[in-house]
Symmetry: C2
Subunit: 499 residues, 2 copies
């Protein structure tokens, strides 16, 4: 695979200077245009030690306007990072739209090193490469331009280069014992590299192998590839829109002519709970929850609760019955409203990654990432292919949470249209509740059937064994609240038992 | 001081229920209005263990709409937090405008505990209280409403309460050996508390002492105080604007009729550097810088560079000559443009705190917090009292950086109006430079004299021994770049020598 990158290609000094002045001008022009473009650029560097990854990034900082560049490198995770899923730190450092992020070490570093040093067998190595593919796919699907450069040196060339660096008084610090250890492992490293490149070179995120032997050659090769890829994407987006690709607002959702019996219609909506039973149960479950969370905190088990449901279904009330049982130091309620402009400049999942709690805490999302396949689908804010692929993206996101040991619960609070109407009218009457009711709430009522179908799809596609949906009949608030508390206690109890 | 909070006041159950339903309605109405208000609310809880701080916060979550509440508690700092000045974690968790932040432990916790356990003498305790005052003053000056509750119990009442909690199977986990140890220290604790309250109860951020003996009493007392304070502030901002308070756009700045000889006019602007000398010096200083930064990284010494100066003074070029000498993993260039909406919802210093690097890195601010006393002052974006107090706020901010061991350098790149004109015209000619030139740049030229005065004030007030300004004659780019590199190397060298 690397044969073509061991040719000791060089770029003569004169050619270099000729090319570079033109190249720099084009890079700057391209970057200026990019600033207003609706996508970020993610450039990943990996490869053999001494092949010039750091030097190339420095060159790019010199040639580009470094104000719109971000460089990131990931060393040993900090304790805040260790407290969260592995990808948390990558998500939080992604560039926003219009900017270029250069990753000197990245999501590739640890999997490859763990394989080289035999800390991972082949099967788990492959699994980690799969995770990488899914991650890059999610970003690319959302428009991110991903470029990956593998900087290569032959075994002999690497040796030469390490020796040269060692002799240079300004650069010898770059060479550590570790580098020589790595050199000893060269063959293992190349084997892992080949597998990585084979498995993760996708159409949307291809690897480009660059020979690292000559500084001038590799700088120009990388910068040219970046210029061309961004230029191509910019021009593409300026091209006239494709003729209708069948995307339209799905109003109403197409049911294929079948009667719409959804999973929600199976709920026993007449369930109620008497006041006195409720009072006893509430105290009992709150006491239990309090004890469970104490244990969870000690064991560093985090809990993440998602609340979705119709307007006025009682999400807030249920959440308050939970938080009342918890130590105020232990929980956060995240209200999901319109994204801030920083959030809007990233993939829709970015803002949820951002708020992931440290170990041992409870985070409650009042509405969540499921907005993508509910309101965004129904109102046409997300394009068909966007919300359709969201199910897989969400499953992958949740799988990472569960793998990290986070207990994940998802509640849909269901009420009937009549009950909703009754609650809306009640809200209109009560001064301090009236503000909760907006025109949008009334509009959403008209889309009831669409939402019901969307909920059905959502349960069908995202209720996994590890992260199941709990559908709660919520016409009776007391019944719903106890149901939520009971489910939470049971899940926590069984999670802690196995811990 | 605490005598009035040892009266064992109670609120009978019937009174409580009567008051609470009214109170909750008012709290919700108030909160709804607050959401659109241009200020955040910061509520600090401190006091005797067992006096109900956590329970009160839970009560507030029940009574208020918890979607617009944030609760924070600070335990042992994480390693990311330890890498930065003490206040970094407080700044990053401040509530934005329109929201209420409840702080269960806060900037008060460590100073008080360190005093109680004799890890701090009285003088350094007082210093830390001074820091708190400055911090709160900065926030309050910017409009934040700060409420501080000291939850009190007499020594006997605390003992009773700890015993009771110990006996309650649901709550006994709240009581640890540490709590009893604290109880033994009660008198020392109260002494530290008295001093704290005396020294930090200011007009803008007063302490309110609340008796924690009875749960109903203390909940209603705290919630009522919050309601009243926010309500008062909301009504105040609705009142008709005060008659002219003498604030006007300072156009042009008032020089008091004196000729405007500023510090900038003292710079020897004719200094130049020949190309060959420049080439040698550049290589020499870059090599030196490279070695110094390697040492700095090992010693975990961070460097923070601020670049300010006229449009086209060559900030970008100077920055690139620095970054070219550094390992790309070690530095960040922060471009300071218009704030994002998240940033605009906080104090202007928040976004600078936010980007503080971990230990051992270099952060370069291309424009900075000095915008407050330059463009914001001159264009009237900041009110007179806002930019006037900014000097002290900035000095305090920088003092915290320097205390944490960060090497702070501030450069003003100075060019003459003629040279600027020449550069503007040159930019217009060169395609890939033309985008750098905006209408605003031409407009700023007209305010040259104002800026010069503002720069004079800035140097006068913020050039401290620990964080001096370096004024660089930059008509000759080569001279300026070497000057910057040389200064940086010298400062780093002397900082590392003392390390």
């Amino acid at each position: 695979m690397f044969r073509t990158a061991e040719l000791q290609r060089k770029l003569p000094k004169e050619d270099y200077h000729l090319q570079v002045s033109q190249l720099r001008e084009e890079l700057l022009m391209m970057q200026m245009e990019l600033r207003k473009a609706p996508f970020p650029v993610i450039v990943v560097f990996a490869g053999v030690d001494g092949a010039g990854k750091g030097e190339t990034v420095n060159k790019l900082h010199e040639w580009l306007d470094s104000r719109w560049l971000m460089t990131r490198a990931f060393g040993e995770p900090s304790d805040e990072e260790r407290d969260r899923p592995e990808y948390w730190r990558f998500w939080r450092d992604l560039p926003p739209k219009g900017r270029i992020g250069l990753f000197l070490s990245s999501w590739y570093s640890m999997p490859i090193l763990d394989r080289v040093f035999d800390r991972n067998d082949l099967a788990s190595f492959d699994e980690r490469l799969e995770r990488i593919k899914t991650f890059e796919q999610t970003l690319a699907d959302d428009g991110a331009l991903i470029l990956k450069f593998w900087m290569h040196l032959s075994k002999d060339a690497q040796k030469d280069r390490l020796r040269k660096l060692e002799k240079n008084p300004l650069l010898h610090w770059r060479i550590s014992k570790r580098d020589w250890q790595h050199w000893e492992m060269y063959d293992r490293f190349i084997a892992a590299a080949e597998r990585t490149i084979m498995k993760t070179s996708t159409g949307l995120a291809p690897w480009k192998i660059v020979e690292g032997y000559d500084e001038r050659y590799r700088s120009v090769a990388v910068a040219t590839a970046i210029r061309d890829a961004i230029r191509f994407r910019l021009d593409e987006s300026k091209a006239p829109a494709l003729s209708s690709n069948g995307e339209k607002k799905p109003t109403p959702l197409d049911t294929g002519g079948l009667p719409t019996v959804t999973i929600l219609s199976r709920l026993e909506m007449e369930k109620t709970l008497a006041k006195d039973v409720y009072d006893t149960e509430l105290k009992r479950y709150q006491a239990k929850l309090n004890q469970l969370q104490r244990t969870a905190r000690d064991k560093k088990v985090s809990t993440l609760l998602v609340f979705e449901g119709w307007d006025a279904a009682g999400k807030g009330g249920s959440i308050r019955r939970i938080t009342a049982a918890l130590d105020a130091r232990d929980y956060q309620v995240i209200q999901v409203a319109a994204p801030t402009d920083e959030e809007a400049a990233h993939n829709y999942l970015w803002r949820f990654w951002r708020h992931l709690p440290r170990a041992g805490r409870v985070t409650i999302y009042d509405r969540s990432w499921y907005g993508r396949v509910l309101v965004e689908r129904i109102e046409g804010f997300a394009r068909t292919r966007e919300w359709q692929r969201a199910y897989a993206e969400i499953n992958d996101f949740e799988a990472q949470l569960v793998e990290r040991g986070i207990v994940l619960l998802k509640f849909w609070l269901h009420i009937t249209p009549d009950e909703q109407l009754r609650r809306f009218q009640e809200r209109e009457q009560i001064a301090y509740k009236a503000w909760k009711l907006t025109d949008e709430d009334w509009r959403n009522r008209e889309r009831w059937a669409d939402y019901e179908l969307a909920v059905n799809d959502l349960v069908e596609r995202t209720s996994t064994r590890q992260a199941p949906w709990t559908l709660v009949a919520a016409n009776d608030k007391r019944h719903a609240r106890i149901e939520v508390l009971r489910t939470l206690c049971e899940r926590l109890e069984s999670a802690l038992a196995g811990n």
